[in-house]
């Protein structure tokens, strides 16, 4: 540890010791929590239940298809939600998770709760039963749809409910509850159910819930397969999953670990270069890297060779099939390699020929140098376009690639776009792709801005914070007589995947 780090720790600790902190819970805490939960009630309870787990012992482990009709007395009814048809006692409530706000705002991406069943309407039943006043629900049940467990890795339906122990931290909301869970794949969809029983749940409740669970039938999603788990593995002592998602601008891949992960979007078919990203798991000597990415369909096997060694040691794996409904032109791969090494990555066709290559990994342990932002990167070189955002803290920019044409090329493009005669100012910008690329800035990125006081071939070295402010405000920001333009055109220089220079393009 150097002097600065040591002093920083001491300064922070000294500051922290000066901070007045509460030594007891404030009066009315429970009431405040309950009031807050009334607001978030629906989301809280079901999300929790869907995420939680628990168990009821022994009893009914299996969720056998008991003749498609719940056990239990009284009138029964049947309802369908999100392609799931379920039969349950009329006195109970089938709850649409979207209407109840259980999935939160935003797009309906997986995982997503697709069905909920409770003895009371959601406003009463969900939230935090243990802290809610009034009658508590005797059970809650949710079904969550997960990314499709691809390649036959999911369990079949009917599924077996199994007990799952949960810790003590949730006891405030689910005191002494018992939970069970089950997972299964059917009709090209993968589900997980969570069922919780309150301590006073009776046999009728249990029989009714188990019967309702077993009665479920499933239709394929009208949207087809939109998300699939391609592979699972372990790296750095953590389990990971590689998930493919159909996105509006191409294939998206997410490497999801137990507590961290990396997402990559906008993969595009490339005949020349493997599109590789990575994420490290674990710490210290256990740290390992997962290289993952997309490959064209002719590639059947991927091999990663340490670039610094000539002994031929390598890691290889077969490519992972990406369902055509997600992306018909690409497959995927994932390799676990030691962290801190750079790897040459090759793709082989069925005949054993190398048909594509790339690189990944790299950087010594603890290196402070930024690494290229995964996916959607630009090749090394100079590129023209628009800087749409600057994230100072992350050290990245959002870049909208465009093409700056001049001469006859510009005239031709101008006329194809409907212009007549020669293009004004002898240049024309073509920006026909809305995709934004997140690019990492070098620590010493140089910002060359036009000095509009000495227009237009003089530059000054700009300050990144002011540049970020101008881009954020989409307006000019001045620093003395220097002007940072919030809406301008830029040339960026990319070296080893990292932006080393941003230079302003003069435009009248």
């Amino acid at each position: 540890m150097n002097d600065l780090e040591r002093d920083l720790r001491e300064a922070l600790n000294q500051d922290a010791r000066r901070v007045p902190t509460p030594n007891s819970a404030p009066d009315g805490l429970r009431r405040s929590v309950r009031r807050r939960q009334a607001v978030f009630g629906g989301l809280v309870g079901l999300s929790a239940l869907a995420i939680a787990a628990g168990i009821v012992v022994g009893a009914t482990t299996l969720l056998p298809a008991r003749s498609g009709r719940p056990a239990g007395e009284g009138a029964m009814t049947t309802g369908t939600l999100n392609g799931i048809t379920i039969t349950y006692p009329t006195a109970w409530h089938l709850i649409d998770p979207d209407e109840a706000g259980l999935n939160g705002p935003g797009p309906s991406t997986l995982p997503r709760i697709v069905l909920a069943l409770a003895p009371q309407p959601q406003g009463d039943a969900f939230g935090c039963p243990g802290m809610a006043g009034g009658e508590q629900p005797t059970f809650l049940m949710t079904v969550q749809e997960e990314p499709l467990a691809h390649s036959g890795t999911g369990s079949a339906w009917p599924a077996r409910l199994e007990p799952l122990n949960i810790g003590a931290a949730e006891s405030g909301c689910y005191p002494d509850w018992e939970f069970q869970r089950a997972g299964w794949t059917i009709a090209d969809r993968t589900f997980e159910a969570r069922i919780g029983f309150a301590p006073d749940a009776g046999d009728d409740d249990r029989d009714g819930v188990f019967g309702a669970f077993a009665s479920m039938t499933f239709a394929a999603s009208p949207d087809g397969i939109s998300s699939a788990t391609l592979a699972t593995g372990t790296a750095g002592g953590q389990e990971w999953s590689l998930i493919a998602t159909r996105e509006s601008d191409g294939l998206g891949l997410t490497l999801q670990g137990e507590s961290s992960g990396a997402g990559v979007g906008s993969f595009e078919p490339s005949p020349q270069q493997l599109q590789v990203s990575s994420h490290a798991f674990g710490e210290g000597p256990n740290r390992e890297l997962v290289l993952f990415g997309a490959a064209p369909p002719e590639v059947v096997r991927i091999e990663a060779v340490e670039a610094s060694t000539a002994d031929g040691s390598f890691v290889s794996a077969d490519v992972l099939d990406v369902p055509n409904e997600i992306d018909p032109d690409l497959n995927a791969f994932a390799l676990v390699v030691p962290s801190g090494e750079t790897f040459d990555i090759r793709g082989f066709d069925a005949s054993g020929n190398v048909v594509i290559s790339g690189s990944g990994g790299g950087g010594p342990e603890g290196a402070a140098e930024p690494t290229p932002f995964p996916g959607a990167a630009l090749e090394d070189g100079r590129h023209f376009g628009y800087v749409r955002a600057v994230d100072m803290e992350a050290g990245t920019i959002e870049f909208d690639l465009a093409y700056f044409l001049s001469g006859e090329e510009a005239n031709q493009a101008y006329q194809e776009a409907g212009g007549t005669g020669p293009v004004p100012n002898d240049h024309f910008v073509v920006n026909d792709n809305p995709m934004l690329r997140t690019l990492t800035l070098a620590l010493d990125v140089r910002l060359r801005l036009l000095d509009w006081n000495h227009c237009c071939d003089a530059f000054f070295d700009g300050d990144l914070a002011l540049f970020a402010e101008a881009i954020w405000e989409r307006a000019d920001v001045t620093d003395g007589d220097l002007i940072y333009r919030g809406q301008s055109q830029w040339w960026i220089t990319v070296e080893k995947g990292v932006v080393t220079e941003i230079e302003e393009q003069y435009s009248p």
């Binding site: 920083l8 001491e10 922070l12 007045p20 929590v33 995420i51 930024p370 970020a468 402010e469």
Partner: protein, 174 residues
Amino acid sequence: MSQDTGIVRTVVADRTDLEDLYVRHVPGAVRVASLITGDADLAQDIAHDAFLRSVGRFRHLRQPDAFEAYLRRAVVNACTSHFRRRKVEAAYLRGRARSAAPADQPDHGRRDELQMALSALPARQRAAVVLRYYADLSEQQAGETLGCSAAAVRSMVARAMETLRERIPRSEDT
């Protein structure tokens, strides 16, 4: 006695659990919030509000021991959102950065300069530094709290340290 009934027992247990949860986790959350925002009163509000929002959601049920991490994440998000919402961070930071410039300030000693320079960092950089050097989180854990990768944390901390080195004299110079 009525306390033997299931409902009463449950209520008593709830209150105990909730208050215990509060006392165990909120003071630490207040300190982290205060180090990030530089405002002890605001930190109290942020930590309390984050606790109320966190306690019922129980996303940590999948990892029951993760409540502290979940609360910390809520606190850090609230701190950084505070600045973003006000949309004044850029101006604020510029002003603080200028006021923190060593040439403009009397010599308060290295620690004071450090604290001043730290307060002038962008919020997420400041949060990354606090999580790494005060909360002693690994890059990966800090990334989970900040909602970014370990590499992004490394980059943020590196940038922060570079800024701090620029803004304060080396110890042998003091």
